[in-house]
């Protein structure tokens, strides 16, 4: 039996070309881990936001050129929340992780959402929710309200 058929299907095969031109294959479970981490993180995030009196309206909203993790209502505001999940050993801070391209993607999604649902005259906000998870299962949160603006 060929070795790769024994692998689970959700593992990724990454092929690399070395400088000598030889192709080597590397099996990685990195991709799976970070997407599941993100998925789990979003579920936890929704829970956290509800506990903090946000009303979650939509999840994983996508526009043509953007996406936003959670759309919620907080008092008079419509809040677009970007969720960042960190396992121990990750580098960086949640604000640093939301770079220009990511911001533009969120802003695009937000604009599309407001336009499609004909929402006018309501103040909006962009929040970043960082979730830190340790191996022992402890979770801590960092909610940054009004994290960035349209420029």
């Amino acid at each position: 039996m060929l070795p790769f058929l024994t692998l689970p299907f959700d593992k990724l095969m990454i092929s690399l070309r070395t400088s000598a031109g030889k192709i080597i294959a590397v099996y990685s479970d990195m991709g799976k881990e970070s997407t599941t981490l993100g998925k789990e993180g979003e579920a936890i995030a929704v829970q956290y936001l509800i506990e903090h009196s946000y009303q979650v309206i939509d999840r994983n909203y996508r526009s043509q050129q953007g996406e936003v993790d959670i759309i919620a209502r907080d008092g008079n505001f419509i809040v677009f929340v970007e969720v960042k999940t960190y396992s121990i050993g990750s580098f960086g801070t949640p604000l640093g992780a939301v770079r220009k391209a990511k911001k533009e993607s969120i802003i695009h999604a937000a604009r599309t959402y407001l336009l499609k649902n004909n929402i006018k005259d309501i103040n909006c906000r962009f929040d970043v929710l960082a979730i830190y998870r340790s191996w022992s299962g402890l979770t801590s949160y960092d909610l940054i309200k009004d994290a960035f603006h349209v420029s």
């Binding site: 505001f77 103040n123 962009f126 009004d146 603006h149």
Partner: protein, 508 residues
């Protein structure tokens, strides 16, 4: 809610009022600044955001548009930080707007909400009275400078919070005042004095004449003969500035950002001595956004150019126009501005590259073509504009070991001031301030020669083949010499002294 906050801007040396309009709509959060802002103004968004939150206010939600009107003039610098922050807070009803109509607000914000000083506050404040403006809110460091202007209350603030609480009526701030006459009465004391210079009686007399009439001087002499020493002591014999002159000078320094917070009014005549590597833009002023150059910073004072021929030829030639007109007009694509440049040019040079040409004791090692090239840097038109050419020879042994004290600056200044007083009375109905700035019609009116003087001047012009401008200059210098003498008419001896100060013309 639409809010209008008054602020100010400068174009050249003239201030004008800028209206900062702030309005917001509900929607995605953000700010945009319109009205030709430069980079520093655009960056104020970030400073304002942190200053507002760090001052304990709530950063207002919604999309803000900030318009700086008039929209067709470029706005520079960070001075709109405070008006923008106040406008945003007022728009979200955190500050009352009752006082806004009569108030002008200026200041740069730091991230902690403190206020930093800005440039050009004095000319801005000068433009405010007469526009229905009652008070101006400025950073504390700019308070003294702003208080020089009468007619507006100066409210000095240390932070955004203080300004906001003042506008809300929660605290009252006493208008900042400054005693201008006290600033003037404090006597200027110099560490240097004319009596420090040994010998050189001829050069001292020439500098006295130059100081009395505001004439330009060129000193030629071997190294170590005391040219630089003499030049540096020239401010000590100049009469003090009048209040209006001092304000003019201070305006220039305020625009350039050279005014220290401790010294709000410049009461001494400026003495500028740029290095000979300075560029023509540095001397004359300019840049993409025009800024005053050395000629303007030396306004009402002295521009001292040491090692005169070492300057780039371009630099020397650009001096010609301000020397004649007393103003510099700088035209750039963005704007055209005029700065005053009524300065006394004092130049010093060696007679040749090695410095020993014509020296009685040492011999010159320069080949003749080098000497010629050295002198060739000074064009005829430029030399024509310099009224007094003075030779400063090397001191003799007896003069060096002489310990007799020379005349002090104090007593020379007395004579100079008397001569200047005569001139002020003479030119009271004109724009002219001293003899060197006389226009042809003034020369005709005021430079009356007696018969001996007339014939002496005629023969001198014929024999020395002097230019028309040199003729004019001789008349002006002799007018000053006659003023020093207290004589109504110009006599032959005055003409004779004036002619001998044109040694470089004679040498040709």
């Amino acid at each position: 809610m639409l809010v209008k906050v008054n602020s100010a801007a400068i174009s050249g040396l003239d201030g004008f009022i800028v209206e900062v309009e702030v309005d917001s709509i509900r929607g995605l959060p953000g700010q945009s600044i319109v009205g030709l802002p430069d980079a520093a103004v655009k960056e104020s968004r970030d400073r304002v955001k942190f200053a507002i939150t760090n001052s304990g206010f709530e950063f207002p939600p919604g999309y803000f548009t900030i318009n700086l009107a008039p929209a067709d003039i470029r706005k520079e610098g960070p001075l709109y930080d405070l008006p923008i922050a106040i406008g945003m807070l007022a728009s979200s009803e955190q500050i009352k707007i009752e006082m806004f109509k009569e108030t002008v607000i200026l200041g740069e914000l730091s991230l902690d909400g403190g206020l930093r000083p800005v440039n050009g506050v004095l000319p801005m404040c000068m433009a405010l009275s007469g526009n229905g403006i009652k008070r101006v809110i400025v950073p504390r460091e700019n308070a003294d400078e702003s208080a020089l202007v009468s007619g507006v209350d100066v409210i000095a603030c240390e932070s955004l919070l203080e300004a906001a609480r003042y506008l809300n009526g929660q605290i009252s701030i006493k208008p900042h005042t400054i005693d201008i006459s006290a600033l003037f009465s404090s006597k200027v004391s110099y560490d240097i004095d004319f009596s420090d210079v040994k010998g050189q009686g001829h050069a001292k007399r020439a500098l006295e004449v130059a100081a009395a009439g505001g004439h330009n001087v060129l000193m030629v002499g071997s190294p170590g003969s005391g040219k630089t020493m003499l030049a540096r002591r020239l401010p000590t014999i100049l009469p003090p500035l009048s209040i209006n002159e001092a304000l003019d000078v201070t305006k220039l320094y305020s625009v350039t950002g050279l005014l220290s917070s401790k010294k709000s009014l410049i009461t001494e005549r400026p003495f500028r001595s740029p290095h000979h590597t300075t560029s023509d833009i540095g001397i004359i002023g300019g840049g993409r956004v025009p800024r005053p150059g050395e000629v303007s910073l030396a306004h009402m004072g002295i521009l001292f150019l040491d090692e005169f021929p070492e300057f780039e030829r371009d630099v020397l030639e650009v001096l010609r126009q301000p020397l004649e007109d007393g103003v510099v007009t700088i035209a750039r694509a963005l704007s055209s501005v005029t700065y005053p440049a009524e300065f006394m040019l004092v130049a010093a040079m060696n007679p040749c590259p090695c410095g020993n040409y014509m020296d009685p004791t040492k011999s010159c090692i320069c080949p003749p073509y080098k000497v010629q090239r050295y002198w060739g840097k000074l064009s005829g038109p430029l030399l024509d504009r310099i009224d007094l050419h003075v030779e400063v020879p090397r001191l003799k042994k007896e003069e060096l070991s002489n310990h007799l004290p020379g005349e002090t600056s104090e007593s020379i200044r007395k004579r100079v001031s008397l001569a200047r007083d005569i001139q002020i009375k003479r030119f009271v109905s004109t724009q002219v301030r001293c003899n060197s700035r006389m226009l042809p019609k003034h020369v005709k009116e005021f430079c009356k020669l007696d018969n001996d003087a007339e014939s002496l001047l005629k023969s001198a012009i014929l024999q020395l083949k002097m230019s028309g401008r040199a003729y004019d200059r001789i008349l002006k210098v002799s007018r000053t010499i006659a003023d020093l003498d207290g004589s109504e008419k110009i006599k032959a001896c005055h003409i004779a002294e004036a002619i001998q100060y044109r040694s470089l013309d004679r040498g040709k």
